[in-house]
């Protein structure tokens, strides 16, 4: 990147290009430099077409500090030579990054943090460096520096600027909250709101690692996620979760009333309240599975009972904040396939709702989440069966939904498991 070539190498290259001798090229450049200098002296600017413009800029006298002694000095006014590249050169030089576009972040200034470098390390997802706050911080640094001459007055101004900062920020917050409903209008991604989040998360690592030249596979990464399922998943994540939680609680209450005579009532309610999110998510959206699976399911002709050959898998190391649902969404392309991961990692995961951070999970590689192969469907069904069994012991009221999902993905699997499951759940799964 930041390599350098020597002047003589440059002269060689120019001589080659212009078919002149190196000596004459060398003297030509010497003359060019002289003329640039005299031009700057006379008119203060020298323009070279297609390259850039050299200019003199007068810097006023300003206070400074001798970095070695810490002594207060005054830097006298002087000229500075600046070079301003023209567009052609700018574009040439920026070519590796030219495909990257600015990205609008959804975060509001409220959750601002003050250090930009932190943000970059944290994938820029969690916090936002406030540009104004950064600027203010800069001021603070300047002001905090020992400044014996103007110490008092500047301290005062520091307080002032602090106050300004506060008011400024609060007004900004207001602005942002007002504007929120319009967010989607300004959205730069043509993908639609549903898959926005996905596309962002895949973009950002690229943006953060500037050593990578502009990535052309960014769109490809996103492409897999633009499925209806993913959209629906996102939507339901955003909107339905609160409703879903309420709905499940109501449904549970009804079931408790209706199934008073049954023996399973015992131990579930505390369980549910402790894990509201992840339980509700897989359960309530389940009915939506119906249509997509009717479309994609191959005719149930094969009666293979062998366990699916696990063609390709990869290792996913769990980060803090991830769930099976989210891993499935990012790695498999469809959040509803999360039991697949659960089924493959029973040795590491006990509760599907709680996965250990930094565990290395085996994650299947799925090329097309919309058209699962027979063996993949069976794998998903197996996963759901495992989830059913776990739920049956921990939260029996909800277990039948997972059993139903087993049947949706693979009716054969449901038949096979028929003997080992609760008959009431089985009839529910079959008649639904």
């Amino acid at each position: 990147m930041s390599e350098k070539i020597t002047f003589s190498e440059l002269v060689d290259l120019i001589a080659e290009q212009s078919k002149q001798s190196q000596a004459s090229t060398n003297s030509f450049i010497g003359e060019l430099v002289n003329i640039i200098e005299s031009g700057l002296r006379k008119s203060g600017s020298v323009s070279i077409s297609g390259f850039g413009k050299f200019e003199l800029r007068w810097m006023n006298e300003r206070p400074g500090v001798n970095p070695q002694t810490g002594e207060e000095i005054t830097i006298p006014g002087q000229n500075k030579v600046v070079f301003k590249p023209y567009k052609a050169l700018r574009e040439d030089v920026n070519r590796p990054y030219s495909k990257m576009e600015p990205q609008i972040l959804d975060e509001s200034p409220k959750d601002s943090s003050d250090k930009k470098s932190d943000d970059l390390e944290e994938n820029t997802q969690k916090t936002v460096g406030v540009s104004s706050a950064e600027a203010d911080d800069g001021n603070d640094f300047l002001i905090e520096r020992p400044n014996p001459v103007k110490g008092k007055s500047e301290l005062k101004s520091a307080e002032d600027s602090d106050e300004e900062k506060k008011t400024e920020q609060s007004s900004k917050q207001d602005d942002n909250e007002e504007v929120k409903p319009d967010q989607e209008k300004f959205d730069p991604f043509p993908v639609g709101t549903g898959s926005d989040k996905g596309s962002k998360s895949s973009d950002e690592p690229n943006a953060v690692q500037p050593k990578l030249p502009a990535d052309q596979n960014m769109p490809a990464l996103n492409a897999g996620k633009k499925t209806r399922m993913a959209k629906r998943a996102q939507d339901s994540e955003k909107i339905n979760w609160t409703y879903a939680a309420a709905a499940v609680i109501v449904a549970l209450a009804i079931f408790i009333i209706f199934l008073v005579s049954r023996q399973y009532i015992g131990n579930d309610t505390p369980q549910l309240t402790s894990e509201p999110e992840q339980i509700t998510a897989p359960v309530t959206p389940a009915p939506e599975l119906n249509e997509t699976n009717e479309e994609t399911e191959p005719p149930a002709s094969e009666a293979e009972t062998e366990t699916a050959p696990q063609a390709e898998t990869e290792i996913h190391t769990v980060d803090s904040g991830e769930s099976l649902w989210s891993i499935s969404e990012t790695d498999l392309g469809d959040p509803y396939l999360w039991p697949m991961i659960y089924g493959l990692n029973l040795d590491q995961i006990d509760s599907p709702n709680i996965i250990p951070v930094s565990a290395d999970l085996t994650v299947p590689v799925i090329s097309d989440p919309d058209n699962l192969s027979e063996s993949e469907l069976e794998q998903v069904a197996e996963g759901y069966l495992a989830v059913y069994q776990w739920t049956k012991t921990n939260n029996p009221e909800e277990a039948k939904y997972f059993l139903w999902a087993v049947g949706v993905f693979s009716p054969e699997m449901l038949d096979l498991a028929a003997s080992s499951v609760d008959q009431a759940d089985l009839t529910f799964a079959k008649t639904r």
């Binding site: 990147m1 008119s43 700018r90 609008i104 943006a207």
Partner: protein, 97 residues
């Protein structure tokens, strides 16, 4: 000083025709540009150092969208004048003060 004036003076001092000078200058500039585009810096004696620098991702507030934006990394040309040039031109135009 415009490009034309530059070529005129350069032709004068090098004793070549203007057309020839222009061609030479264009060759020199295209080589220099292409080296910069490849990320190679170069120091030209008495003039200064051209270099390439990658600006990291920045987060800025966009008043238009009223939101924060990520500005992608960018590679830019840097020029730092040689000390000879700097000193020569330090007080040009301000000598009378």
């Amino acid at each position: 000083m415009t490009y034309r004036e530059l070529i005129d003076q350069l032709a004068d001092s090098s004793g070549k025709s203007k057309a020839q000078t222009k061609e030479l200058l264009e060759d020199a500039i295209s080589v220099l540009s292409s080296q910069l585009a490849r990320g190679n810096g170069v120091t030209i004696p008495d003039l200064g150092t051209f270099g390439c620098k990658v600006k990291e991702v920045q987060k800025v507030y966009s008043p238009h969208y009223k939101k924060y934006m990520l500005i992608p990394p960018k590679r830019v040309v840097e020029f730092s004048p040689s000390s000879v040039l700097k000193d020569e031109l330090k007080f040009v135009g301000k000598e009378d003060e």
